[in-house]
């Protein structure tokens, strides 16, 4: 292996063709994964810049940087871009596309052309939304609540709503592709109970994508119709019901939280197993709890609506179901922690992100219990407590898991190892920056500060100031991380096919970067997942 690096480089998916056309018309799932990576990073940076701008405004109680309308547009843009164009597609689009076929021993996904179409649809939806921003912005909040969005807002709701509507189809098609791929294209010997947990998580996510996303599409279409053609679905002046919108919206958008976080669970399970040299504790439980969360997750949407004037008895049911979702989630955390017990632990950059994920996601989960509790929810609903809670889940949880996965599979994707020291510095800075940013918001929220406030009472200023300082600290961490990863691409030396000495077909059987057809010979699986006693993984250098 060491010799081959000096001679003619081996054929891989990256050097198989260098023209722009060979990328834009590719049906190789790996190249599509890399295209998703590039485009998602761009959307992430746009969303992050919006956050940086409104955090500057929020540093002090008085309005001093932006007008109220600009502020409202900034937080709306941040929310829409981060939720629909980063959080939802990040793991499935990048890591899922790249890894699902390789992990199960397949040549590609079941429908490679459809897979390319998903990326184009994602980009088309993204262009609509960015156009809405460039043409003057949108100020409804990412939740598009009616009748504000459908009647009163004076901004580009139709354009942005159409963008999100279109992008939804990319999620649906990717989900469909993964479900069929996992059912039909597993290599001989890759039984269900031998699947890596990452695959289980992608599978559960795909089911939610297929069942939930159409509801969001219908809902946004109704908003667009009401706004554009005066339909009276949600507008009470025409006999519509504005609260109906919230039911429809959250019927998708609560499960969407699991669309965002479940793939992260999959990443974390892979990374933990590798750097503890152990099978994940309670593999079956972790696998099936993903499906359980996906199922129960569809019946808790009303906990976003305890103060909306929905029936109190409906609220009671939504409350208890929300608590029940917490149980499989908490066992996952116990199982991950138990995996470390008597392991052989190496604190690499991906492992630091993963351990950070467990801690932050746990805080996100526990504060979710506050919001499931009816009497407490009434106080905390629509305050900064909610903002802090979902950022702990979405950024502390999902983004940390995504970065963990990107660092873990980076050498697999590009055949290059990044500078481990700087990658670790980035991870630690992001972890502390994140806590400085969002922990103070729990206190501001408990003190009653409503979210989406442009100016606010001076009593909340210390917390908002800390939050702004933390955000810029965290931004520095993200820049370190980005520079470290990009710099690695210019390195000469190859990292070898299995630098982490990890199990799994993607490490033991495929090259880094992989061959255009993933494997040079048909794959047969004869071991369980995470068998770190298997000598084969230690032979390859």
């Amino acid at each position: 292996m060491n010799d081959s690096a000096k001679t003619e480089p081996k054929l891989n998916y990256l050097n198989a063709g260098n023209t722009v056309k060979s990328w834009l018309f590719t049906v190789d799932h790996k190249r599509i994964g890399v295209m998703y990576l590039a485009s998602i990073v761009v959307f992430f940076l746009v969303g992050a810049c919006a956050a940086a701008l409104f955090r500057m405004e929020l540093a002090t109680a008085a309005p001093d940087v932006f007008s109220n309308d600009t502020y409202n547009k900034l937080f709306t843009m941040h929310g829409i871009i981060m939720v629909f164009f980063f959080l939802i597609p990040a793991v499935p689009g990048v890591l899922g596309n790249f890894l699902v076929p390789i992990m199960i021993g397949a040549k590609d996904v079941a429908f490679p052309r459809l897979n390319l179409a998903s990326w184009y649809i994602y980009m088309l939806g993204g262009s609509f939304t960015l156009a809405a921003v460039l043409l003057g912005g949108i100020d409804t909040g990412w939740t598009f609540y009616t009748p504000y969005s459908s009647v009163y807002a004076d901004s580009n709701v139709i354009l942005a709503g159409t963008g999100v509507f279109i992008t939804g189809f990319s999620s649906i098609l990717t989900g469909l592709n993964f479900i069929v791929t996992v059912h039909k294209m597993r290599a001989p010997g890759m039984r269900w109970m031998r699947l890596p947990l990452f695959i289980w998580a992608q599978y559960a996510t795909s089911i939610i994508n297929i069942l939930g996303t159409p509801v969001l599409a219908i809902t946004l279409l109704l908003v667009v119709f009401e706004r554009g053609f005066g339909f009276g679905i949600f507008d009470p002046a025409k006999g519509g019901d504005p609260v109906l919108y919230q039911h429809l919206f959250w019927f998708y958008s609560h499960p969407a939280v699991y669309i965002m976080i479940l793939p992260g669970f999959g990443v974390v399970s892979e990374v933990l197993a590798c750097f503890s040299r152990k099978r994940i504790y309670g593999y079956e439980f972790v696998a099936f709890s993903s499906l359980a969360i996906a199922a129960i997750g569809f019946f808790v949407w009303g906990h976003h609506m305890f103060t909306s004037s929905q029936s109190e008895y409906a609220a009671l049911i939504f409350s208890i179901l929300s608590f029940l979702v917490g149980i499989p989630t908490s066992i996952k955390i116990f199982n991950w922690t138990a995996t470390l017990y008597k392991g052989s632990i190496e604190l690499t950059a991906p492992m630091i992100y993963t351990l950070g994920f467990i801690g932050l996601f746990m805080v996100g989960g526990l504060t979710g219990l506050f919001l499931a509790t009816m009497a407490i929810n009434v106080h905390l609903h629509d305050t900064y407590f909610v903002v802090a809670h979902f950022h702990y889940v979405m950024v502390g949880g999902m983004m940390m898991a995504w970065l963990s996965g990107i660092h873990f599979w980076w050498p697999k994707m590009f055949g290059k190892m990044y500078n481990e020291f700087w990658a670790k510095v980035g991870a630690v800075v992001i972890f502390f920056g994140f806590n400085f940013t969002f922990f103070p918001q729990f206190i501001a929220g408990y003190m009653g500060m409503p979210r989406r406030y442009h100016v606010y009472d001076v009593a909340y200023q210390p917390f908002q100031m800390l939050s702004t300082a933390g955000a810029f600290f965290m931004g520095a961490g993200l820049i370190i991380c980005l520079v470290t990863l990009v710099a690695s691409l210019f390195r000469k030396e190859s990292c070898g096919s299995n630098p982490w000495k990890a199990t799994g077909l993607e490490w033991t059987t495929a090259d880094s970067p992989p061959h255009p057809h993933n494997f040079e010979a048909p794959v047969v699986v004869d071991v369980e997942a995470y068998d770190y006693t298997d000598e084969r993984i230690y032979q390859d250098a």
Binding site: Y145, P147, A237, P242, S309, I331, L340, I376, D382
Partner: protein
């Protein structure tokens, strides 16, 4: 410089009860956060990799951890559920002796009206020790009336009435916030709740309405008397409870249960009356024909509110 406050004001014993429940959740959360973080750090140090040849011995999946890991959290969260639901339901129905204040949300202000017709904008004066019931609606988008010092919040929705109540137990000034994002000046849709001694409140209520920032209001602004005129012009033929009338009695029935065709029962409240004016045939009272036509085009939403106020005042009068 003032000391940094880290807890909200407590202005009612309900707020105190919510804080107790909050403390329980905080305790559980802190315990698990510290326990899991300590284990992660301890394991990471204790079991750090010594060499590449280092192979951990396989640990078996124990059933015990799965069972304890489900049962203990289950018990802890069920306590949260029942405690939270009980507090919520106990504090749901406003007491009979509440003072009713009408709240109208409008981009971007709170319009408030006291039982005697006196109006305020953004400020709400109330007496200490008397429960205050807010009957709320919106003229445009969804707003949310939030009193952090009372741990209470309720959305204010166009096209229907919502309700919340609170019992002020400490005099002072407290925040009123709009908690539901409602557009450009959402963050300026704020006000002050001023809790006064009861005599002070009585004096304030009786005082001429022209002072300070309080808008001027005439006696005819009293919504019930405006509603009386509208009711007499449009509704008395059918709805005063005379024997043989085409429609059911609306004059003396506010707050009671009404039998519907098909055996259902419905509470005659603000939403029922409003809906009956807009969509009269949705709920047909038992024994009456579906003969009424909609008043949607004839009455403005303000006029409908006045009719409701009048019907309420009539039922209260007949109950006394």
């Amino acid at each position: 410089m003032k000391a940094v406050k880290t807890a909200p004001d407590v202005a009612s014993s309900y707020a105190h009860q919510v804080d107790n429940l909050y403390a329980y959740l905080l305790g559980v959360s802190i315990f698990f956060t510290i326990a899991i973080c300590a284990l992660i750090i301890y394991f990471s140090v204790r079991y750090r990799r010594q060499s590449d040849a280092d192979r951990p011995e396989a640990t078996k999946d124990g059933k015990l951890l799965e069972i304890l890991g489900s049962v203990i959290p289950f018990v802890l969260v069920m306590i949260m559920f029942f405690w939270g639901a009980k507090l919520y339901f106990d504090a749901r129905i406003p007491p009979k002796d509440s003072i009713e204040v009408l709240v109208t949300g409008k981009q971007w202000m709170w319009k408030l009206q006291h039982p005697n017709g006196k109006r305020e904008i953004n400020d709400l004066h109330v007496p200490v020790g008397v429960p205050i019931k807010l009957t709320m609606t919106s003229e445009d988008v969804i707003h949310s009336f939030y009193l952090p010092a009372f741990r209470k919040k309720m959305d204010v929705v166009p096209g229907k009435y919502t309700q919340m109540w609170f019992l002020p137990e400490k005099t002072g000034e407290y925040h009123i916030f709009c908690a539901e994002y409602c557009g450009t000046e959402h963050s300026l849709m704020i006000g002050k709740l001023i809790v006064m001694e009861q005599q002070e409140y009585a004096a304030w209520l009786a005082k001429s309405w022209t002072d300070g920032n309080t808008p001027v209001a005439a006696a005819s602004d009293d919504p019930a008397s405006a509603g009386k005129e509208i009711f007499e012009a449009n509704c008395t033929v059918c709805h005063t409870g005379k024997p043989g009338a085409i429609g059911p009695d609306m004059m003396h029935a506010f707050g009671t249960m009404r039998q519907l065709e098909g055996g259902e029962e419905i509470l005659m409240d603000e939403n029922y009356v409003l809906n009956s004016m807009n969509n009269p045939n949705e709920h047909i009272a038992k024994g009456y024909p579906a003969a009424m036509t909609s008043f949607k085009a004839n009455l403005s939403s303000t006029q409908m509110k006045q009719v409701i106020a009048y019907l309420k005042s009539q039922s209260e009068a007949s109950a006394e």
